[in-house]
Symmetry: C2
Subunit: 209 residues, 2 copies
């Protein structure tokens, strides 16, 4: 579920050196957009930060929308990778609690700044850019299905009741996580993230066999 996706067509036609340059541009854009938002980041900012020329930038991304889309795909992968190996194996209450602790830790490490890299992009782009919105839906779906896979294992092993719905439970967990991250960013305090995830885990536990 969280394995690295196949290269996009754009990437596949590049040489190794071209892919490295493209990756440097996307990384620079992702960092700037995480810090300042998409609207607050110009392609000129990205060009400067990545240390590439105008024609190089244009060669890889002929408009800002294409760059934004590459950033969404990149940030989705980063977010999922940062939760590994736990996210790939959320198949016990112990694993769910360790995952909660990891998510809280990650926020504390960055002083509760920035919120969720995918959630922030969603808040800014969902209504403004339909192509971006679809990529964000896909990103959230990858995250949700990684959670769901672990819960489905728990049900299959009889730890959750047969009527527990892993899809619904995973959606509840992702909802708590997104709301928790937004309130944690606003309050600069992990209490909302902790409260939301604790409640989500308690809700999952209420479906234990």
């Amino acid at each position: 579920m969280t394995q690295r996706p196949l290269m996009s067509e754009d990437e596949a036609r590049l040489t190794a050196k071209g892919r490295a340059t493209r990756a440097r541009i996307v990384q620079a854009a992702a960092d700037l957009m995480f810090e300042r938002g998409v609207a607050g980041t110009s392609t000129e900012d990205v060009r400067e930060s990545a240390g590439v020329s105008n024609s190089q930038l244009y060669h890889y991304f002929n408009d800002k929308n294409r760059l934004v889309r590459a950033v969404i795909v990149h940030q989705t992968q980063q977010v999922l990778d940062a939760q590994q190996p736990l996210l790939g194996r959320l198949d016990s209450f112990g694993a769910l609690e360790a995952w909660r602790d990891l998510l809280i830790d990650l926020q504390q490490q960055r002083d509760c700044r920035g919120g969720c890299p995918i959630g922030s992009l969603a808040g800014e782009l969902a209504d403004a850019d339909e192509e971006a919105r679809k990529l964000l839906v896909t990103g959230f779906a990858r995250w949700e299905s990684a959670i769901r896979d672990g819960l489905a294992s728990m049900r299959d092993r009889g730890e959750l009741r047969p009527d527990a719905d892993p899809d619904q439970l995973a959606l509840v967990a992702l909802t708590a996580l997104q709301g928790g991250l937004l309130l944690t960013e606003t309050r600069r305090d992990v209490a909302p993230l902790r409260a939301g995830l604790n409640a989500a885990i308690a809700y999952i536990r209420s479906h234990a066999a």
Copy 2:
């Protein structure tokens, strides 16, 4: 808790006509920023949409930051008012369920667009503008404490157990609501909002006496 706050000092020193002009500017700014984001809204856009001159706009708001802050206060009041009278009396499971249905309805009425007016501002401003962040914290706190007051009544009447913590439960509800609204906006589907609020209500119910 959700009563209209006292006028700000800025408002108090204005004539009735001045207050109406100021309100028209804030409403225009709030609408534009809800639709396009703060970064995507220029003071020129606001000036045009409100039908005021440059010097009038400058008279009330001498920079965009002041206007943004007035928009946060305005949107907080709008969001709380839109949930009345239910939000002022969330003191039974029936009321909590009616509130959930109202929130889902409101999203359906706007085709799941826009997300939460406060949450969207928080996602865009929390890291960028410390003064705005504090106003957003206050806005969320007003919302949270309206939820908490109802839950505290339920505990005082013995419907929730004495060890139920209305502060924590209200924070869980607000977290589920914010995550649900963000995912609902992204997916254009109320399923995440419904799942999050249902789980939050079930979690509150698990504290029933």
